[in-house]
């Protein structure tokens, strides 16, 4: 039981962390609440399904192509639709909702409303802590950890990362200091969507694909981002761990827990917000008036 809970939590935490880090980055740098974030994750999943099942490409190549496709899609949408509207915060909000709906319907149109699944990359399983863990799980966990470390290194050790963090802290000052704000924002969108794409790519063989699969992760990602503090990376990681663990506990320990997992994690979010209104690691932004 305990092993099940831990393995499940670790897996979900990884996926949530990837999505939440991207979401948080995008909020921090470009000041966009991107409600279409998890829609990109869905698009990546479907892209892989198409490339593997219909076009017959090997999985790693398919993953690479889907990530590139998602990044291109996200950057084009950002430059064409979101960037010119950025001053109108509420308009951006529904632009992203509408965008998510467009993507959902596009997937529905191409692939139908059926539940789809992608064949796993590896077969077999290992036994850890008395729990059967398939190699696919382990592989996924490895990729997740690798990707998160890579993002961390980019943000902390490169000039680009410095620019991203600086812009997230104060857009105007960063611009005054000679950072190209719009270029940084575009690159952030690219990184964030690549993370969403990768998350979608690696869970595709484990989860079931369907056109509405973006909605549930979206609420969870919002909860994590708020719980950890909007714009904070550390917060996203801790938030993802907390929410994933809470979900697993509820699912395994509470009767009818599967219905309550969303309610429980969001309840935790509200509790945290009541105690710390800016989230666990959030910085209270200087009110932008």
């Amino acid at each position: 039981m305990l092993g099940n809970i831990l393995v499940n939590a670790l897996m979900n935490a990884g996926v949530y962390a990837m999505l939440a880090v991207g979401f948080s980055l995008m909020f921090g740098v470009a000041r966009i609440i991107n409600l279409a974030h998890t829609a990109f994750y869905m698009v990546a999943g479907y892209c892989i399904f198409y490339l593997v099942s219909t076009a017959g490409l090997p999985l790693p190549l398919a993953i690479l192509i889907s990530i590139v496709a998602v990044v291109v899609l996200a950057v084009v949408v950002y430059r064409l639709l979101i960037d010119p509207m950025r001053e109108h915060e509420t308009t951006v909000l529904i632009l992203t909702i509408a965008l998510a709906l467009v993507l959902q319907e596009a997937m529905l149109l191409w692939f139908g409303g059926y539940f789809r699944s992608v064949p796993a990359a590896t077969a077999g399983y290992a036994t850890i802590l008395g729990v059967r863990v398939s190699f696919q799980y382990l592989l996924t966990l490895g990729v997740l950890a690798g990707a998160l470390v890579a993002v961390w290194l980019v943000l902390m050790k490169t000039k680009l990362g410095l620019a991203i963090r600086a812009t997230a802290q104060d857009r105007e000052i960063a611009e005054v200091m000679g950072m190209d704000e719009s270029r940084t924002a575009t690159l952030t969108v690219a990184i964030a969507s690549a993370l969403a794409g990768l998350a979608g790519a690696i869970v595709a063989p484990l989860y079931i694909l369907e056109p509405r699969m973006w909605l549930n992760p979206l609420t969870i990602v919002l909860a994590i981002a708020v719980l950890g503090g909007l714009g904070s990376l550390k917060g996203s990681l801790f938030g993802a761990a907390i929410i994933a663990l809470a979900e697993s506990l509820v699912v395994f320990l509470v009767p009818q827990g599967a219905f309550l997992k969303g309610a429980f994690s969001l309840g935790i979010m509200i509790l945290v917000l009541l105690i710390r209104p800016e989230g666990l690691f959030g910085v209270a932004f200087e009110e932008e008036r």
Binding site: A98, L101, P277
Partner: protein
């Protein structure tokens, strides 16, 4: 004699307050057309669409009140709609109360929900508040699923009494309720309380510095918004004769956001315009069933790309002009302000929206 004088006064008021402005005339004649429509055209499908649109217009206006006017952007407005829908349906089924009683009681439950959401959210600001409100309907939906013996779980509470015995009466109940309630919301935003609401949105710190008890007014706004959304939810439950978990879904929360921002936020009339344009649009798009939602979402994206303020303000900008001296609105045909007589700029420079 008095009757004639009263009618005379009424006509002058009507001419001076409504006919003089194209925007108001459009809304007034729209409402009249809505009331008169069944006299000439009684297609059940069209009546159904307009009934639903009227109910959703109340819902959208209530969202505009809290999110547009007071600026507390709510992403979880379904909590009010769903609470009221379930309360009305359950009271109707279990206690046998008629819709006249259950709808107000449902709205009362939504007011309580407004308190439950509003008080914790006092500590939160901006985006944190929006995302926290998103959580409430999802939590309630989880509880609805768990206590499925009472709430019917996935299937919902069905077999609720009809809103009115015939389709036509249902139509009139919904339309009249929409007109009265939306006017009420609009009057609230225009009253002294409304001015305080606007002040809280524009600058909460300054409002507080002026001696306004902003937390009190924010909770009041949540309750008022809950009240109107709740009335819409009750009407919906009795019209659809079912209250299901879809009333609490994320998409139910997003619908009013789409309508209101499309129509024009913080105006109330924008909410009405948004619903009455977009809701029938979805039905018209049924000609291409597979492409329906795609076209719907794409048209919203495109319209907003070129009218970021929303549809209604964009149209008003073209039909009305603000007097540079007294800030009164004037029809675009006028050369001088109708209140102070100042000459209006003729012609207006192209490409520069007035009042921007």
């Amino acid at each position: 004699m008095t009757v004639v004088r009263y009618l005379n006064w009424l006509w002058r008021e009507f001419k001076g307050e409504i006919l003089v402005l194209p925007g108001r005339s459009i809304l007034f004649f729209g409402a009249v057309a809505l009331l008169a429509l069944p006299l000439v055209f009684r297609h059940p499908y069209a009546l159904r669409i307009l009934t639903m649109a009227s109910i959703f217009a109340i819902f959208a206006a209530s969202w505009d009140l809290i999110s547009g006017v007071v600026g507390q952007l709510s992403l979880g407005h379904a909590i009010f709609f769903g609470t009221a829908a379930y309360t009305s349906a359950l009271l109707n089924l279990n206690a046998g109360l008629p819709p006249v009683v259950t709808i107000p009681l449902g709205a009362l439950a939504a007011v309580v929900a407004g308190l439950a959401v509003g008080i914790p959210c006092l500590r939160l600001k901006g985006q944190y508040l929006s995302l926290a409100t998103l959580a409430f309907p999802i939590i309630l939906a989880g509880l609805v699923m768990v206590f499925s013996s009472v709430t019917g779980g996935e299937l919902g509470v069905s077999g609720v009494t009809r809103l009115a015995p015939t389709r036509l009466k249902e139509y009139y109940v919904a339309v009249v309720a929409a007109i009265v309630l939306i006017l009420a919301v609009w009057k609230i935003t225009d009253s002294k309380v409304g001015i305080i609401f606007h002040a809280i949105r524009e600058d909460e710190v300054a409002a507080r510095a002026s001696g306004i008890n902003t937390p009190l007014y924010k909770v009041l706004a949540f309750c008022l918004s809950g009240l109107f959304a709740g009335l819409a939810g009750g009407l919906y439950a009795h019209y659809m004769r079912i209250a299901g978990p879809s009333t609490l879904s994320v998409l139910t929360s997003f619908q009013p956001i789409i309508w209101v921002i499309f129509g024009g936020i913080a105006t109330i009339y924008g909410a009405v315009v948004g619903v009455f344009v977009l809701f029938p649009l979805v039905e018209v798009l049924r000609v291409a069933p597979e492409l329906r939602m795609l076209l719907y979402a794409a048209s919203i994206v495109l319209v907003l790309r070129f009218m970021p303020e929303g549809l209604a303000p964009w149209v008003i900008d073209r039909l009305e002009r603000k007097c540079p001296r007294c800030k009164e609105h004037n029809a675009f045909t006028r050369r001088a302000c109708r209140v102070c007589g100042t000459a209006l700029r003729v012609p207006q420079e192209k490409g520069v929206p007035s009042g921007g």
